[in-house]
Each structure stands twice: as structure tokens, then as C-alpha cells.
Symmetry: C2
Subunit: 113 residues, 2 copies
């Protein structure tokens, strides 16, 4: 899977988005996160693994606890892709506007002849 | 599936992202798009259906041709979600910076006593 595929796949699940929202506020332990989502650790770990594979989350063992942290670079990559498509779309709309305005101006000029 | 789930799922595939990039430039017929991606129509239609289900693309029959158009609202929804998480994350970083600066200033003041 390409990096963008993995990033968007990670974001396509409400539990994983909630984890991202939680980690944007600050690091948290996997067991705390699992508890907050009322999930058993093994099924919750699958979500963490998906988030780690897309480099959105990094986890580190700290004593007996595994802590998760957000890595915002991947989210920025996704935002960048969306932003670039939006700009292409808006450029096209502006060009259409200009085209229609020029057409109207030409019509007016022709009418005034 | 929630709307955001469907949007991000749509984006998690390079063929679908390429279709979005193509439609940002302007509307296109399904058969043109399929040809451009060297795909048979039936398998390509699956991608179009995913894009339609997330309201990213709308298709309309125009004579004997089915034309696809981009609906940028769903992409804006996705961008909005990412933007909001980024802002939360940056607010936290700024708070951490201020905290560390205050700590350093306090240390300096204590050292000068």
C-alpha cells in the first residue's frame, strides 16, 4: 500500500479518529486509550497497529506502560493532498467565471453596436 | 458507515485519488476515465460507486454517456477534520513552549537572587 493509502485507511474509522483526537491533546498509554473506548486490549491493539503502520502514531515502552504519541507529519501529508486538489478545483472555477464574464461582456458590446 | 468513514475510505485508494485529481480539472465520462486507468468498465464502476457513496463524485446520464463531476464539499469536510486536529496539536505545542519558557525564566530569576 502507498503511504497515502495507509494514511487515509487509518482515518476511515471512527475509533481511530477518536484516538488521534485524544493524542492531539497529549500522549496517552495504550491501556488508558483502550479503556476510554471500552475495548479489550487485543482488539484495540489492531487499531494502534494500523495507526503505527501509517506513521500517524508512534508507541514506546516506558517502564511497564506503552505510551502512544501523535506524529502529525502524516496528517499534514493528507491535508496537503486535499489542499492541492481543492486549489486545482478552485482555479478551474475561477477560469470558468472569467470565461463567462468575458462572454457576457462580448454579448453586451455586440448588443451596443 | 459514518460520512467521514466513507470519505476517508474513498481516498484510501490510488485509482480513486487519481479520478478525483482528474475531475478537479473538469467533468469526464466514466468510459473516458476507465480507459485512462486501463481498467475494464465493470471493475472501474466499483470505484465510481465508492466515490458516489461518499458524495465526492456525482454521475449523470447525458444522452448515451454517463458524465462524472466532482462535489468538493466532502473533500472540504475531510480537510476540516484534519485542520481541527492540527490546531489542537499546535495549541498544545505552544502551551508546552510557554511552559518551558516560563520555567527557564523562573530558573534564571532564581539563579540571579
Amino acid at each position: 500500500m502507498a503511504h497515502l493509502d495507509r494514511i487515509f485507511h487509518s482515518l476511515a474509522d471512527s475509533t481511530r479518529r477518536a484516538v488521534i483526537a485524544q493524542l492531539a491533546i497529549g500522549p496517552a498509554s495504550i491501556s488508558d486509550l483502550a479503556q476510554r473506548h471500552h475495548m479489550a486490549l487485543p482488539s484495540f491493539m489492531k487499531h494502534i497497529r494500523v495507526l503505527e503502520q501509517s506513521d500517524i502514531v508512534v508507541s514506546r515502552k516506558s517502564g511497564r506502560v506503552r505510551m502512544c504519541e501523535l506524529r502529525p507529519e502524516s496528517l499534514k501529508t493528507a491535508q496537503g493532498w486535499l489542499e492541492s486538489e481543492r486549489r486545482t478545483w478552485e482555479t478551474r472555477l475561477n477560469q470558468l467565471d472569467t470565461f463567462v464574464e468575458n462572454l457576457a461582456a462580448k454579448d453586451n458590446a455586440d448588443g451596443n453596436r
